[in-house]
């Protein structure tokens, strides 16, 4: 029982990271119907921005609370800029072409960020400075949780609530919902569709960067290829929860995280990478709209 509860704690921590990345996927997909393959690499870039800033701020890796917050914010802004550039330079020119062209562009951007990262940062893993040293808390019954795990969960929840507020209660959020419903109709209502799409990209990239920094604080090893698998799995999480659906992405992320950890703990760890895709195929076959998604007929 202790072991099971401990695994559950591990799963929830890991799942909230997936949830943060999945949010970016779900927003972009909801608005553009595009799988932004480069999203996982923006997550990687977020971790690297945090790495450089943290090294610059505290060469001796002396931890402090305000610094940690600064690192998180600056890397989110940095990734937001990258998201803006990716959207303007690569995705916007192909928006009017086929969806296939857009998808291939997304794959190209992803490969570019990964291999550009190898060129610029070097292929070897970097050590992310310990801006928040680890402490253990006993949860009773032998189950422990570290303060870093708590931070991951708390920051994730805060960011998700913030996003929910933006989407539901602000003008720009309303515009986002309108654009995701129909580009043409939104444009006729006087919404600048281009600007909303850019805003969505920036917002999604910032969330991915936050996930990158949070993971790096907890597992302080970052490298240019670290975004591939989490990126793909977060997409699966978004589909699992119902793509385009924000609470769905969070739920999907948690389900994925817990499922993965349970597979590792009780079945075979080698199936960790496969379970995501098995879940995906199962959900697409039996409930293609996702857990929280509603079935909609395809428009002709």
């Amino acid at each position: 029982m202790t072991e099971f509860l401990q695994q559950l704690v591990n799963g929830i921590t890991w799942g909230s990271v997936y949830a943060l990345i999945a949010l970016g996927y779900t927003m972009v997909y909801g608005i553009l119907r595009l799988i932004n393959f480069a999203h996982g690499d923006v997550y990687m870039l977020g971790a690297f921005f945090g790495y450089f800033l943290a090294r610059w701020l505290a060469p001796a890796a002396l931890p402090s609370g305000p610094e940690a917050i600064l690192v998180l914010l600056v890397s989110m802004i940095g990734a937001g800029v990258v998201g803006f550039l990716i959207e303007r330079l690569a995705y916007k020119p192909v928006r009017r072409s086929s969806r296939l062209a857009a998808l291939i562009t997304a794959i190209g951007v992803s490969l570019l960020l990964e291999n550009g990262g190898i060129l610029i940062f070097g292929p070897d893993p970097k050590f992310f400075p310990q801006i928040i040293p680890a402490h253990q808390f006993q949860l009773g019954a032998g189950v422990t949780i570290s303060n870093q795990q708590v931070i991951v969960i708390v920051v994730s929840i805060a960011l998700m609530l913030g996003l929910r507020f933006i989407v539901l209660y602000t003008r720009v959020g309303k515009a986002m919902r309108a654009v995701s419903y129909s580009h043409t109709a939104a444009a006729l209502m006087g919404i600048s569709v281009d600007r909303i799409i850019t805003f969505t990209f920036v917002l999604g990239s910032m969330l991915a960067a936050a996930a990158g920094v949070l993971v790096a604080v907890q597992n302080p090893k970052i490298d240019p290829l670290m975004g591939i698998m989490p990126g793909l799995k977060a997409f699966v999480a978004a589909v699992l929860g119902g793509i385009g659906n924000i609470p769905g992405a969070v739920l999907g992320g948690l389900v994925m995280g817990i499922a993965e950890v349970m597979v590792v703990g009780y079945l075979s760890p080698t199936w960790r990478d496969a379970i995501a895709f098995i879940l995906l195929i199962a959900i697409l076959l039996f409930r293609p709209a996702g857990i929280l998604g509603s079935n909609t007929a395809e428009k002709v």
Partner: protein, 405 residues
């Protein structure tokens, strides 16, 4: 009209690049190197390249000649970390560049794919750091300058059972790595043979970030130590997370742990851990310290063992050429790029092979190297302890007899 010419033009250009890269005019000795300069294993290829570079630069500083012939600069060929690409790269080295010897690879899977090509062409290949026993069984032209995984597994088992006096060990290994799998098997066989038990067996995939699930399961089995026969990239994180979930015993590893990054990533969690390695940087050995100094001058960091092994492989090759040039200058002339494709070249590479095979007590940066009858390096392994964030030499283990392989 223009557009329809484009495709054939591109095709013609690409065919021309193929035909164009023949051997150039100047007479020299061509040595080839291949490695994973891109892809997930890019650090290995990079270290190998740097180690080879240091060896070549040293030769160049002394005039760059062996037996009157200039040794051409050794440029690496990228195999992207893929087995088929390694085969193609070595085909290029052997047939296009007409190299007289080949240095590479780190990963056994890629050495295995390339070895038959060198063997068929009669070109000696020296692997700096492929530790899987299968590699040198591919033929009598295939050598290595590192110890084997069966020896390494035995060393760690011996150390765990003998020096640390532990009986219950759990294993956490990398399912994506043939190296990790081999080392795990050899360790298990040796350790159970010494009366120990493996209480838990879990795996991960290289590139994973989160090992808490596996560690939680393993910890429930109450092991005294956890053997992690993987690479430093994961070992540091594993140590950190093991401490986090409350595992207090030592973590044990193999030469995959060797990197300056290990302690940086693992931090305090690495204290009290042990791993087997090719060298200990704090050893006063003059050959080692000479190489470390040269490497630092050039690249501004400490070398890892992969670089050291690449350095030794290159130097052993140069030494063999040197001996050939004095013992049999006539055949040695066959190593010149002018002799490519002739019978003399065939005799020369065959003789060069014999010279490499005769390497005895070579004072390398990674210890004294003797090439045995199976073309493997017979050399000691060291066990390193991590204490207060520093890697400290702990013991040296010599091969008792040639490991059965």
């Amino acid at each position: 009209m223009k557009r329809s010419i484009l495709a054939p033009l591109v095709l013609a250009c690409s065919l021309a690049t193929l035909a164009g890269c023949g051997a150039s005019g100047q007479e020299k000795i061509v040595v080839g190197e291949y490695g994973s300069l891109t892809g997930t294993d890019a650090t290995f290829g990079g270290s190998t390249r740097d180690g080879v570079q240091v060896a070549w630069d040293e030769l160049a500083a002394q005039g760059g000649k062996i037996g009157g012939l200039t040794v051409g600069e050794i440029t690496p060929n990228d195999d992207e970390g893929k087995a088929e690409e390694a085969a193609t790269a070595v085909q290029k080295i052997v047939n296009q560049d007409q190299a007289v010897a080949v240095i590479g690879e780190v990963a056994s899977s890629r050495s295995l794919a390339a070895a038959p090509i060198c063997q068929n062409a009669g070109v000696p290949m020296i692997s700096p750091s492929s530790t899987n026993p299968e590699v040198t069984k591919q033929g009598d032209y295939i050598f290595r300058v590192c110890f084997l995984d069966d020896f390494q597994g035995w060393v760690m088992a011996n150390f765990t059972a003998g020096n640390l006096k532990l009986k219950k060990v759990a294993i956490l290994w990398d399912v994506k790595s043939d190296y990790s799998k081999g080392l795990k098997q050899y360790f298990t066989t040796a350790f159970t043979g010494m009366g120990g038990t493996i209480v838990g067996d879990q795996s991960y995939s290289s590139g994973d970030q989160d090992f808490r699930a596996q560690l939680t399961s393993l910890k429930a089995k109450n092991p005294e130590a956890i053997f992690v026969p993987g690479y430093y990239t994961e070992a540091g994180l594993i140590a950190r997370q093991a401490r986090e979930i409350g595992f207090k015993g030592p973590l044990l590893g193999g030469d995959g742990w060797e990197s300056s990054k290990l302690i940086e990533i693992g931090g305090d969690a690495m204290n009290g851990c042990y791993y087997s390695n090719h060298w200990a940087l704090d050893s006063p050995d003059t050959n080692l310290q000479h190489f470390v100094a040269e490497y630092k001058k050039k690249f501004n960091t400490d070398p890892d063992a992969i670089a050291g092994l690449a350095y030794d492989a290159t130097r052993i090759l140069f030494a063999a050429m040197q001996r050939l040039s004095t013992e049999d200058p006539k055949t040695f002339a066959g190593l010149s790029s002018k002799a490519a494709g002739t019978d003399l070249r065939k005799q020369a590479t065959a003789k060069l092979r014999d010279m490499i095979a005769q390497t005895k007590n070579y004072p390398g940066a990674t210890g004294q190297i003797t090439i045995d009858a199976n073309r493997n390096a017979s050399k000691p392994a060291v066990v390193i302890q991590i204490k207060n964030g520093k890697k400290m030499f702990d013991t040296t283990t010599y091969p008792q007899s040639t490991p059965a392989s």
